[in-house]
């Protein structure tokens, strides 16, 4: 097995550090920049691999950006690669938010800042509900009845009955595994064989 070069490990670390420190807008934006660096610039992975990694990163639990970093790091340099990529991703928030936290106690008592924060809270609510609308409409457009029922059901259960979020996720997982196994055993009548 080839010894992963120290240069690659270092580059992994620095690249993720840079991306994480300067990318606003969350996981998917970070992945976009990861693609620009790792696919377009370094040619470490090709576009198809990047797409598969993105899917895998979304499928696994945790922040997508971190998962993607783990996958790229793993491919390029095994375990040291994973560590380098994850450290690079996690350090900027750590530093930045520590600094903010220092001043937080100071500026939270400032009445003007408090007003601005209160206003921004309204903004955050809007941002989150906007994301919900985007994601929700994707689910609806899929026209998968079970999914739509799951979404509506989970919504009712959590908002009106305070059902535990983790319980809902666990149930969804069980349903998912069951339906995946079920569809494997069942023939798909509307799948047509395309003759080549």
């Amino acid at each position: 097995m080839i010894q992963p070069s120290k240069k690659i490990i270092w580059k992994l670390f620095v690249t993720m550090l840079y991306i994480s420190a300067f990318t606003f807008g969350g996981g998917f934006v970070i992945i976009t920049f990861m693609k620009r660096k790792f696919v377009d610039e370094f040619h470490w992975i090709n576009e198809e691999e990047m797409l598969e990694m993105t899917a895998l990163a979304q499928t696994a639990p945790g922040a997508i950006a971190v998962n993607a970093a783990i996958l790229v790091g793993s491919k390029m340099a095994g375990i040291p690669g994973i560590l380098a990529a994850v450290l690079g991703t996690a350090i900027p928030p750590f530093v930045i938010l520590s600094v903010i936290s220092l001043f937080y106690s100071l500026f939270i008592t400032n009445p003007y800042i408090a007003l601005v924060l209160k206003g921004m809270q309204a903004g955050v609510a809007a941002v989150i509900l906007n994301v919900v609308c985007d994601l929700g409409s994707t689910v609806i457009k899929d026209h998968n009845r079970l999914n739509i029922i799951l979404m509506a059901g989970a919504f009712v259960l959590t908002v009106f009955f305070n059902v535990n979020a983790i319980l809902l996720i666990a149930v969804a997982l069980i349903i998912g595994i069951a339906s995946a196994l079920f569809s494997n055993n069942k023939k798909h009548p509307d799948k047509k064989e395309v003759s080549k």
Binding site: S20, T23, F24, G26, G27, I30, A55, L56, T59, P61, G62, A63, A65, V66, I70, S74, K75, V86, T89, P93, F94, I96, L97, I100, S101, Y104, Y112, L115, V116, L117, K118, M120, Q121, A122, G123, V124, A125, A126, V127, I128, L129, V131, V132, L135, G136, V139, N147, I148, L150, M151, A152, F155, A165, L168, I169, V171, A172, L173, G176, A180
Partner: protein
């Protein structure tokens, strides 16, 4: 010990945040605000606001910041580590399995049922925040409503839906709007 508890809480959050960083939000709220009362809903919303405005993945930002507010730098370390651990283990395993068996399609089908549930959970978190914004800790009623905040919310939501504007810019404008309205009201 708070550090151990924080670690376990965020370990759990990390394990069940499937489908993107926003999925972590309702889970963090459920533990940190509802279950352990380490933060009030107002504090939590503030932290979320700041996590949204700072660079980096929002889930990591939230974990780190909540950790700091609860138990200082040690708390931040422990919360972030807790959140990262499931990812580290599961994704590493998945990378290996996937390379060997290319079983991605099976995983995706099995996990496909999660997305609609996660969407509902995030919606629920969003509504909690909206409730916090509009009514604070008061009960929901017409007289308790914070009209300005609701107005800002409605405007922000409209702009985001209609023009797909940059969320950070929108949030920033809301902040300024709040200042503006307060000054304006005081002048009248």
């Amino acid at each position: 010990m708070i550090y151990l508890k924080l670690f376990l809480v965020f370990l759990q959050v990390g394990l069940f945040s499937v489908g993107g960083g926003y999925a972590a939000i309702p889970l963090i709220q459920a533990q940190v605000v509802d279950q352990y009362s380490w933060l009030s809903m107002n504090e939590f919303t503030d932290l979320l606001t700041i996590a949204e405005m700072t660079p980096g993945p929002i889930a990591i930002n939230s974990a780190t910041f909540v950790g700091i507010r609860i138990a200082g730098i040690g708390g931040a370390l422990v919360a972030t580590l807790g959140f990262l651990t499931p990812s580290l283990i599961i994704v590493s395993v998945l990378a290996y399995v996937y390379a060997r068996y290319k079983a991605l399609e099976g995983f995706r089908k099995a996990l496909g049922r999660l997305r609609p549930v996660v969407v509902a959970l995030i919606a629920s978190a969003g509504i909690s925040i909206l409730r916090q914004v509009a009514f604070g800790t008061e009960s929901i009623s017409f007289t308790n409503a914070d009209g300005i905040s609701l107005l800002l919310f409605a405007a922000a939501f409209f702009v985001l839906r209609k023009f797909k504007s940059n969320p950070i810019a929108v949030m920033f404008c809301c902040g300024l709007g709040s200042l503006f309205f307060d000054t304006f009201i005081k002048m009248c």
